[in-house]
């Protein structure tokens, strides 16, 4: 193996955390001008490996060569100086500052006077070079997630990064933004940059990468194979270590009585803008109803309004013929409304509290966990242990803080809590986002099981494939309005509705 055309060469890297070996003798190399995908389930050690490369962690053993020279990074700065830049999943930007200011942050040039116009020009030039279009004078808080990501990339390029590590870059992006990102990545590799693309999404890896390295539980199962030589199923197998069923089995269930009935719902979002503009929909017993739409078209506000977390300005919400419009959240919970929030760490769980404290969040004041004024800790612990068993939550003990759990396990904690409350109506917002193949399958099966046991489920997702697989019917939302309802899974119609064409108009044009 000639190491000279390798920009990066990592040899038998081992990194352990208490109780786990995150990386076990991992080899990884990166050639100039390629996109090398690092594929693996959550907790497989992908981010750890790249954090070692980016100077955030120090490996216990193994060696790293950059352009053939051995290095030993003590800090991210040293890595950047060596041309290694990492774009993390969570952006590290200052919201109140402009794009240029964020890019210049921490650099020695400019020294005292900011000379912004001059640097604005520099940023624009660099942005044009790679097709990373963003207004250098815009404040970061005004930018969309996709634009913020571009700023992060520019930040790294500006610091002279030749190797760009992208940690799950598509997790936060809308489909159109993903394709823009891919264009950018291609233009960067054409100009000689090399890219590590961390992902657990097979189809994206197939689309963008030249080579793939697959990690499974900290070990390499396949090192640097050419993407075009493998199939999606092969990769899935390498990643999970067993065959993955891509189609979950969906039994026929006769839909029953209407459980959720929403009429003319209006609400405003946090910025005071009208985000729901007269939404009407219904969900019946034993039915999964999908809500499709591009992110930010009122889905989150709808979920919150249904759960009682957001004030409804007009319209009504009834669950099993009980009016729950603008009623306290707790009343909704008692009426069997359950919400699986999109934001698992900021809404769904309390990160520093134990697994037990997190699973009793909705029934800590109900018998048998509560008696009188007390929370009976033995009952709470039993309950948590039962759920840990039943939902296969992988955690050292039920006293462990949930911040130490992986994304998939955290979602299991939430699902265990929500499903065990035997909800009559469940709102699931992006329940599989950021999860790996195995976990996605688990979550989808749980939702289907809920459907079979007669619950009414509103599934809000940006993954069309998931919506089509699970839903009996699909509504499409656009700018706070329902564009129409589809029960035959016509993907073209859904696509048109997602961009703002009402169903009647589509059908009228179709007849013409």
């Amino acid at each position: 193996m000639n190491t000279l055309d390798h920009v990066v060469d990592m040899r038998s890297i081992s990194k352990r955390f208490p109780g786990v070996i995150a990386n076990d003798q991992v080899d990884f190399d990166l050639r100039k001008g390629e996109v090398h995908a690092l594929l693996g389930e959550n907790g497989a050690g992908k981010s750890t490996l790249m954090n070692v490369l980016a100077g955030l962690y120090k490996a216990e053993s193994g060696s790293i060569f950059i352009q053939g020279k051995q290095v030993n990074f003590g800090s991210p700065r040293e890595a950047i100086d060596a041309g290694i830049g990492m774009v993390h999943q969570h952006f590290m930007l200052v919201p109140s500052q402009s794009v240029t200011e964020n890019i210049l942050l921490g650099l020695t040039e400019p020294r005292f006077r900011m000379r912004l116009p001059e640097f604005n020009k520099k940023v624009t030039e660099m942005a044009d070079q790679y097709g990373l279009h963003v207004d250098p004078e815009a404040k970061v808080w005004q930018l969309s997630v996709g634009e913020q990501q571009r700023v992060e990339i520019l930040k790294m390029l500006y610091r002279g990064a030749d190797v760009l590590i992208m940690d799950e870059p598509t997790a936060v992006l809308a489909p159109t933004e993903i394709s823009e990102l891919f264009d950018t990545l291609r233009s960067m590799t054409e100009q000689g940059k090399s890219i590590v693309f961390i992902s657990h999404k097979l189809q994206e890896v197939m689309e963008i990468s030249d080579r793939v390295t697959v990690l499974q539980k900290g070990k390499v199962t396949s090192s640097g194979i050419n993407t075009k030589d493998v199939s999606r199923a092969d990769l899935a197998h390498l990643m999970v270590g067993r065959e993955v069923i891509f189609r979950v089995e969906k039994k026929a269930v006769q839909a029953g009585e209407t459980v959720l009935d929403v009429k003319g719902l209006k609400a405003i979002n946090d910025k005071g803008i009208q985000s729901l503009n007269g939404v009407s929909l219904n969900v019946r017993e034993g039915e999964i109803v999908g809500l499709a739409g591009v992110a930010g078209n009122g889905q989150n506000e709808l979920a919150e309004a249904l759960a009682g977390l957001r004030e409804v300005t007009e319209g009504s919400v009834t669950v099993n013929e009980k009016d729950v419009t603008n009623k306290p959240v707790k009343l909704g919970i008692r009426h069997g409304i359950s919400l699986i929030p999109a934001d698992r760490t900021h809404v769904g769980t309390a990160p520093n509290l134990s697994v037990t404290d997190n699973v009793i969040m909705k029934n800590y004041d109900q018998s048998p966990i509560s008696k009188g004024w007390r929370v009976i800790s033995s009952e709470a612990n039993n309950y948590a242990s039962d759920l840990k068993e039943a939902y296969d939550i992988i955690v050292p003990s039920i006293d462990t803080s949930v911040r130490l759990l992986s994304g998939g396990n955290l979602q299991k904690v939430i699902l265990a809590r929500e499903i065990s409350s035997e909800p009559k109506f469940m709102i699931a917002v992006q329940p599989t986002r950021g999860l790996d193949v195995g976990a996605i399958e688990g979550v989808q099966k749980l939702l289907l099981a809920q459907r079979e046991s007669g619950a009414a489920i509103l599934l809000i997702s940006e993954e069309l494939e998931e919506l089509l697989t699970l839903s009996d019917r699909i509504y499409v939302i656009y700018e706070g309005e329902i564009m129409g309802e589809i029960s035959d899974g016509d993907i073209n119609k859904i696509g048109e509705m997602m961009t703002g064409t009402p169903l009647e108009q589509i059908e009228a044009e179709g007849v013409k």
Binding site: S75, V329, A350, T400
Partner: protein, 376 residues
């Protein structure tokens, strides 16, 4: 690249290196108290250094403090007198801090509690010759009500208008002191002096020395009934925080208010409630200090108890039962420290303890190990 090779080029390398990593597992249970203890020891060592630099004898100073605060029953009792308000104020801070509600206003709530107790005697609410047990209960109650009212104001402002409670509680302290001064200088001034008349004896909280007639052992001991209040309050607060539904709600809001809201727990209601309970405890401290020690309404009744309570709460890791112990430590420091130097060193040590405590948190969050330097 901060060049590793240039380091090795210089030839000699330090044979060990310190490795710092974020903890990715739950730290062991013993770690937290051990760290707090270490922080106190480190603070005392720093204090010793300062005493030595100032030309004093650290060992002599510390043995003096220990001897004259814990060395005999008499001084121990005096230490308890200092510790009682600290216990109650420390508890007040603990419950608020559990919810990440930064009540810096225990000082003001303390003053208002003193005012409330004085009302009972001076307004008067109870007749001069009312039985002692009535005074014990009613002064405590009024101290708590007035303290709670003082806590309610910033609580309400926070819940309704999202006013930063750190600023509002701090400012309310100054208002409380001046509020009391108005009554001390004006309304209840005794022939122009800046204090009220001495309260009649049956209004005083009972003291250990009251038992001297039957058991001479207690003669001259000034520890008063406030200790019963403090210990009771600590036990009740411990039950609330660790065993009750409300304690769970406080814990959940403290860790993630959005998750609490999502679980159907009203944050606004709890902000106001917790601020009121916190204020009530600080108020009880003020009331028992007036009725048990000062025995008249006057200014300057607190050498910063409300602020020391913050340190005590942190040192106790917000555990109500541990507050009792840390308060005794600080009571000793305040009592005997004053003999070493009226101001200066003892307050300095308090401050250094706080800094050392905050710094010790680093070791709680990170794992630090010293390893042999390996050749790269």
């Amino acid at each position: 690249m901060a060049d590793i090779s240039s380091k090795s080029a210089s030839g000699w390398k330090f044979p060990f290196r310190i490795k710092i990593e974020n903890r990715v597992d739950n730290p062991p249970k013993w770690l937290s108290p051990v760290l707090s203890l270490t922080a106190v020891v480190v603070a005392l060592l720093i204090g010793a250094l300062v005493i030595w630099l100032g030309g004093g004898k650290p060992w002599a100073a510390y043995t003096h403090i220990a001897k004259y605060s814990l060395g005999s029953v008499g001084v121990l009792s005096d230490t308890m007198v200092k510790a009682i308000p600290l216990m109650l104020v420390g508890l007040a801070c603990s419950i608020a801090f559990r919810m990440k509600l930064w009540n810096i206003g225990a000082e003001g709530q303390f003053y208002l509690g003193a005012f409330g107790a004085s009302l009972v005697v001076l307004l008067p609410i109870l007749p001069m010759e009312a039985p002692k047990w009535q005074f014990i209960l009613v002064t405590a109650l009024f101290g708590m009500i007035l303290g709670a009212a003082w806590g309610f104001i910033p609580g309400f402002l926070k819940a309704r208008y999202n006013v930063n409670e750190i600023i509002s509680t701090l400012m309310m302290n100054y208002i409380a002191i001046e509020w009391n001064n108005y009554f001390i200088y004006g309304v209840w001034s005794e022939s122009g002096f800046q204090m009220s008349r001495m309260f009649q004896k049956n209004a005083w909280l009972p003291r250990l020395s009251d038992l001297a007639k039957r058991w001479p052992f207690f003669g001259g001991l000034t520890t008063h009934f406030g200790l019963v209040f403090a210990v009771l309050a600590a036990i009740i607060l411990w039950l609330i925080l660790s065993k009750s539904k409300w304690g769970y709600e406080i814990r959940l809001i403290g860790d993630n208010p959005r998750a609490a809201e999502y679980a159907g727990i009203s944050i606004k209601k709890n902000i106001i409630l917790v601020m009121m309970v916190s204020g009530a405890l600080a108020g009880l401290a003020g009331s028992s200090e007036i009725m048990g020690v000062v025995h008249r309404f006057q200014g300057a009744i607190s050498p910063g108890y409300g602020y020391t309570g913050i340190i005590i709460a942190w040192l106790a890791k917000l555990n109500p039962l541990a507050v009792i112990l840390t308060s005794i430590l600080f009571g000793a420091l305040i009592l005997a420290g004053r003999e070493v130097q009226p101001a200066g060193i003892p307050t300095l040590i308090q401050g250094v303890i706080m800094v050392a405590l905050i710094a010790s948190d680093f070791f709680y969050r990170n794992r630090v190990s010293i390893t042999r330097q390996v050749e790269d």
